[in-house]
Amino acid sequence: MSFDEETAVRLARRPRWHYREGVSALDPNAIRQDFPILSREIHGKPLVYLDNAATSQKPFQVLKTSRDYYEEINANIHRGVHHLAQAATTAYEAARETVRAHLNAQSVEEIVFTSGTTDAINLVASVLGRSGKINAGDEIIISGLEHHSNIGPWQILCEQLGISLKIIPVREDGTLDLAIYETLLTDRTKLVSINHISNAFGTVNDVNSICHLAKQVGALTLIDGAQSIAHLSIDVQDINADFYAFSGHKVYAPTGIGVLWARRDLLEELPPWKGGGEMIKEVSFEKTTYNDPPFKYEAGTPNIEGAIALAAALNYVNNLGIESIHSYETHLIQELSSILSSIPEVTIYGPHDRSGAISFNIKGVHHYDLGTLLDQMGFALRTGHHCCQPLMARFGITGTLRASVGVYNTIGEVHALGEALERALKMLR
């Protein structure tokens, strides 16, 4: 995609705040100008993109960063003595610092670049499995709200080590039953791995309490932040988990880059994951010594451009202010909720104070049909099980229709969705 650089600079300088009656709010119309794809038409209708929980669209500030990287400083990092190698290394390590600051981590050594959340969780599962910290008869706790990415890696570990998986049940309102969670915690619990926000229902989990309780029995904790990174302010020291994972593409950065934050002492203590270049200190055929974290966990040439573009995306978010984004998106979700509530025979899943996404079904109407007809009208929503089949089974459904918002969605789009739903339902009833 091409864009005029002059326009880019002009747009970048344009304020995205406007003040009204002493209350500051984001200006979605100005923000929309930053996202080239949003001016597209789908089936001859303006695109209304409400599938942000699957992936977010990218602002030109991020696209330009990716392009500039390849046009100006592309080189392999860390080893080269030449100018470009140093420029690329500096930019890559500066990106690590941007991520550190964004998560309020103690040091850059705690920030490992991965290809995404799934990759990060698999990293933790794999190295924990070889660490001696988890042994036959031990238990791992996850929840009924988890994405398959936070189920599969642990099931593989269960088979490998002869350990078992305990599940925190989901209550009727789509929240976790923390009273039962407390009863699941025993001295056999070695790890608790929970999402911060449910991708399927938008439930925000009380991760601080979950981690606090886990620590009382000496269990490690991992928070899957794939859905929270774009919507909430994340402070890993405040949450006090041991691992926190997220994907760049959910927060306006490209696909193929993600982050594992982990406590430094753990990264030092745990065994390496993949072998290769960069993760070693010295290699001989008899014995290899491993590099210090985070490099110990970044074997091979990393996604350099992705990391730098992720930093650009986090800067974009921070320029707008994550708190402002959160309150604006909450306004959108609440409006969606009240529009959906007015549809006869609708079931909305998850608690009222959800974040980012809202999931629903309408009695007698297949979610695929609604999704297909909405697509005809230019609306991108997600249908199906959202990679949460156990959660769907818990509610006795095969899937839902899910609308998930980003910073560029408008209240006008929310109202347009209401009208489109009405039209689609007329056709289907």
Partner: protein, 136 residues
């Protein structure tokens, strides 16, 4: 009318519509008008495997002609299978086996659908042909 003539007729009808939303509305309408399939026939045996929504298909030979019954939990899928039923019902098994179902390509329906749904169309066509093979 032969299978080819029925396909042409259907194409003409679908081309009358201005856009795909209207075409879908028409296809959904065809689905709603599909003769009911008895609940007792909606079994695992009659399920077309591989479709994202559930589609049941039953076929029998009545007076030397194919007779199809179908249902789905998705109205759009039901409408799509209604297109097939309309073209193939009352034809000889031999004709069903030997005639190419070109309307799927010609309507542009396949390009228009999500890959999972387009795949369902192929599966439906294959299953209907398989039923004719078994009946003949």
């Amino acid at each position: 009318m032969t299978i080819s003539e029925r396909q042409d007729e259907l194409l003409e009808e679908l081309n009358l519509f201005q856009d795909w939303t209207e075409r879908y509305e028409y296809i959904i309408g065809l689905g709603k008008k599909l003769p009911p399939m008895d609940q007792s026939l909606q079994t695992e045996d009659h399920l077309i495997k591989g479709c994202q929504s559930q589609v049941w298909l039953d076929a029998s030979l009545v007076d030397g002609k194919m007779h199809y019954l179908a249902d789905s939990d998705s109205l759009i899928t039901k409408g799509m299978i209604a297109l097939f039923v309309r073209i193939l019902n009352g034809q000889t098994a031999q004709d069903v086996i030997s005639t190419e179902l070109t309307f799927i390509e010609k309507t542009g329906l396949k390009e228009h659908l999500a890959p999972t749904r387009a795949n369902a169309l192929t599966l439906m066509a294959a299953q209907m042909r398989k039923c004719a093979l078994e009946a003949s």
